[in-house]
Symmetry: C2
Subunit: 311 residues, 2 copies
């Protein structure tokens, strides 16, 4: 091994594999770079949903039923905010809100999102590095048949119902990778794409200038875990979006998305029949159980990924 | 009657009389102008303790045990903020925090504190006008034997223990009265000093350029209710401060503070013996029960005040 494993992650699915990797890799052996295209301001507070989910998951605080938010949280603040006329379609529990209040305060003091994330992670006892993809504002915009909408409006307010035409990343052209992401791209010995939404979690990371090229020319092993299992997304709107974007909701279509960016695609046993098609694209297919029901599944999948990257 | 009653108030004691006045005067007959010298920023949120207390009291939400905060509030957010390393000596309940979050958002949108207060008050169903004394930053600073400290540090963190040498109001020189206060000073038919701390609640209001002069030349009846009863403050550090500042903790000393500013000082039956001394200062002493144990006491005192101002 020549450097840490660089794992690219979105929210819930990515956080589960990241948690698994964190159980079997030492803090210096893993850097988790997280999508921030979902970031949004609610009630004047900076919410970074994927970073939050990864932090809560690694800290053991995540709500096991939803995968996001804090387990056992209450909603006193939101009830009062509604009374003050604030829009409250975005769920924010009381314990969760503390994170956004504190982050917003740190950002207001001039700290970068990277530094704020580092400070907050450490406060929660997290030893592994959680790094936002950028310290600049990159915002995912979903272009639907009902018009263009910010990611959270599409995802939470409209529950992913509008048909998607395309996804863009406002601000990406002017954004730079965060210092931690830059360092990891230079120093990492292997790269892992966690099983996250291709369009909403992985593409925002790839949208930052230079990232796609640096991953394409990355020297170590590159492994992706398919977020599609048996023609369906394990969680979220990915399968629906693939269909709306004119693709099939299959592991082969996932592989096509990763051509030139990864060497091995881990697919579930349910998709073993796609292996030949995937390999025809120049990507090795590795068939293993990928659905993570509980902690043991996460660790098993992480172990398989570690083997595949040769750690 | 020629205009509304203008009531000047600080926190808990002032809020009680303001509540009483609001029960017997129509919304157009009362303007409550509130001290903002206690305002402070906690966790990046603008907290306006006296305005909050008056709002919660008029909305029927105030914690009856403390007089401030929201009844039955929880503290999930603060517990997590402590975990993130934030200083949490200033108590902020979950339901209470929503007010500060929303106010901070409104201020961030460019609204003045007056407009934010108006919007928040109305959301809580309050019909009477609650007006901050100024929309500018006036901050009470307490000069103690242990050094100079911002009001909340003295009041909450150090529980008023350090001996006070003087009190100053940073920013007062450059501050202006809020539009609602200005209008009330022009249009009010009577003026009431609620039973609030002379140095920490009334003086900040008087520190804004022009206010002392305008009250001195105010044409209608001016009535103050003594915050000192039987040589003690009904609540808070007033009696202790009076002693530290070289004054006696008596109604006569209260009257001396109000010379030129009020025509009648309402004193409790416990202080009837001071009446002659007070009248020798040119202020009429009105002896009536002033301690407000419950809603009925508040209304009775408000009724007496209304009689005294001739409404």
């Amino acid at each position: 091994m020549t450097g840490p494993v660089l794992a690219l992650a979105g929210g819930v699915g990515g956080a589960k594999l990241a948690w698994g990797l964190a159980q079997i890799l030492a803090p210096e052996e893993l850097v988790i770079v997280v999508n921030t295209g979902d970031d949004a301001t609610f009630h004047g507070l900076h919410v970074s949903p994927d970073v939050d989910t990864v932090m809560y998951t690694l800290a053991g605080l995540a709500n096991p039923e939803t995968g996001w938010g804090v387990a056992g949280d209450s909603s006193q603040v939101l009830e009062m905010l509604a009374r003050y006329g604030a829009e409250t379609w975005f769920q924010l529990g009381d314990r969760d809100l503390a994170l956004h209040i504190r982050r917003t305060e740190l950002l207001g003091q001039g700290k970068t999102l990277s530094l704020a994330t580092q400070e907050l992670s450490r406060s929660l006892g997290i030893e592994h590095a959680i790094v936002p993809m950028t310290d600049d504002a990159v915002r995912t915009v979903v272009n639907t048949e009902e018009g263009e909408m910010p990611f959270q409006v599409y995802f939470v307010k409209h529950r992913c119902v509008p048909r998607v035409r395309s996804v863009t990343f406002a601000g990406a052209g002017e954004a730079g990778v965060s210092p931690g992401f830059d360092r990891a791209l230079n120093e990492a010995g292997a790269l892992v794409f966690c099983p996250s939404n291709l369009y909403l979690s992985i593409d925002p990371i790839l949208s930052i200038p230079g990232v796609r090229r640096r991953i394409a020319s990355f020297q170590g092993p590159r492994v992706a875990v398919s977020p599609i299992v048996g023609g369906e997304a394990v969680k979220g709107p990915l399968a629906k979006m693939m269909t709306e974007l004119g693709r099939e909701a299959t592991c082969t279509a996932v592989a096509r998305h990763y051509v030139g960016l990864c060497d091995v695609l881990v697919i579930d046993e349910a998709d073993g029949a796609s292996a030949a098609e995937i390999e025809a694209l120049g990507i090795r297919a590795d068939v293993t159980p990928t659905v993570m029901h509980g902690p043991e599944d996460r660790i098993k999948l992480a172990q398989r990924v570690r083997e595949l990257v040769g750690y």
